[in-house]
């Protein structure tokens, strides 16, 4: 990911009013994580299990903060229980930013399963998602996703396609 794309994400989050962030890092979104940790605008809590991050974001929302959970798309599988319980059973939302590992052109074999399962898992959890494939659409997508989070009180995922995450695909 280029610094320019990372900047669009960070500034897009700020413009949309996001103050709380949690993440479990992946390699495609690398620059974003250090930006979050270094930026005092954000309360940032890294986690070692994606389900914990989803819970943190739901708690922050309950305290009036817009929040984002950033994780590899395998995290959707890891956090399935938290997403179902907190979103469907309880009624607390979490906005997620997720790289589309396993997207067309991903060079790593292990990512294939992430790509193949991501959309079916999101759909089974009835989580709306938006795939961003152009850098100049990132800020708008963040804004739109957070509007939908607010209107629905339910999770929304912004999926970052390979085009915006990887140089020289």
């Amino acid at each position: 990911m280029t610094e320019s794309v990372a900047n669009e994400v960070i500034e897009g989050l700020k413009e949309a009013g996001v103050k709380f962030a949690s993440f479990l890092p992946d390699s495609w979104l690398q620059p974003i994580y250090f930006r979050l940790l270094d930026d005092p605008h954000f309360i940032t809590i890294p986690v070692s299990n994606e389900g914990v991050g989803v819970g943190l974001c739901c708690g922050a929302w309950l305290g009036g903060l817009k929040a984002v959970m950033i994780m590899e798309n395998t995290g959707i599988r890891m956090a399935c229980d938290q997403l179902a319980r907190l979103g469907i059973s309880v009624g607390l939302p979490c906005f997620m930013i997720i790289p589309y590992r396993g997207d067309i052109g991903d060079k790593l074999t292990y990512a294939v399963a992430h790509g193949q399962t991501m959309i079916p898992v999101l759909e089974s959890l009835r989580i709306p998602y938006h795939v961003v494939r152009k850098e100049n659409r990132i800020r708008q997508s963040i804004r739109r996703c957070l509007t939908t989070v607010s209107v629905t009180n339910y999770h929304v995922a912004m999926i970052m396609g390979a085009e915006v995450c990887v140089e020289n695909l």
Binding site: G51, V52, C58, G59, A60, L62, G63, G64
Partner: protein
């Protein structure tokens, strides 16, 4: 020591705190002992520490109390390492450890054998995590926790409850809405979407 007696001892200390409560009989007992809109019940097994920690980080000027259980803590142990690494000074945690999955008939949890939740918490970086085994010790730990600054983590070893549980009168969705409205009113902030048509 019975959990209901611990909850009765805790209730007089609750003023404007936000109380995150686990599920099952602990929730039913707390709802009976301390009914109020500032209670947030049942985020699902394992999820109470993350939700309470997120809430505590969002409202650092306000005391957040978490009433959790051994089964819930054991289900998502990595929440302890996050708690230890990113503590919240305003978060007061009480874990009622009855060594059993009470809601499903009392099957044993791992704390009935070798697992020690306070030791796990300490090893995860949660400073000052303690275990209390009698009501006087619980009362004194609760007084110290709620009367001071700094995150606290108190594990109370309790017996299985006796007799039928109290009935919880407020349903989950209504309870959540009341809690959100309580937070909005007492914090002068807006959480739920407002239509401007």
């Amino acid at each position: 020591m019975e959990r209901i007696d611990c909850l009765k001892a805790l209730a007089p200390h609750i003023k404007d705190q936000l109380v995150v409560v686990t599920l099952g009989r602990t929730a039913q007992e707390w709802a009976a002992v301390c009914p109020r809109d500032g209670n947030m019940f049942n985020s699902g097994m394992g999820n109470h520490i993350p939700v309470a920690l997120g809430l505590a980080k969002a409202l650092p000027h306000r005391q957040i109390v978490l009433l959790d259980s051994d089964g819930s803590i054991l289900m998502l142990l990595s929440a302890l390492t996050t708690l230890g690494s990113y503590p919240a000074h305003n978060l007061k945690i009480f874990v009622f450890d009855n060594e059993a999955y009470e809601g499903t008939g009392g099957q044993p949890t791992d704390t009935s054998r070798a697992a020690d939740i306070a030791a796990l918490a300490q090893a995860a970086g949660v400073r000052g995590a303690i275990t209390v085994r009698d009501l006087d010790s619980f009362k004194s730990a609760a007084r110290a926790a709620l009367g001071g600054d700094g995150m606290t983590f108190v594990v109370a070893k309790v017996e299985l409850s006796k007799g039928p549980p109290p009935r919880k009168e407020v349903g989950h969705r209504e309870g959540l809405l009341r809690f959100i409205r309580y937070v909005e009113a007492t914090e002068a902030l807006s959480i739920l979407h407002k239509e401007h048509t």
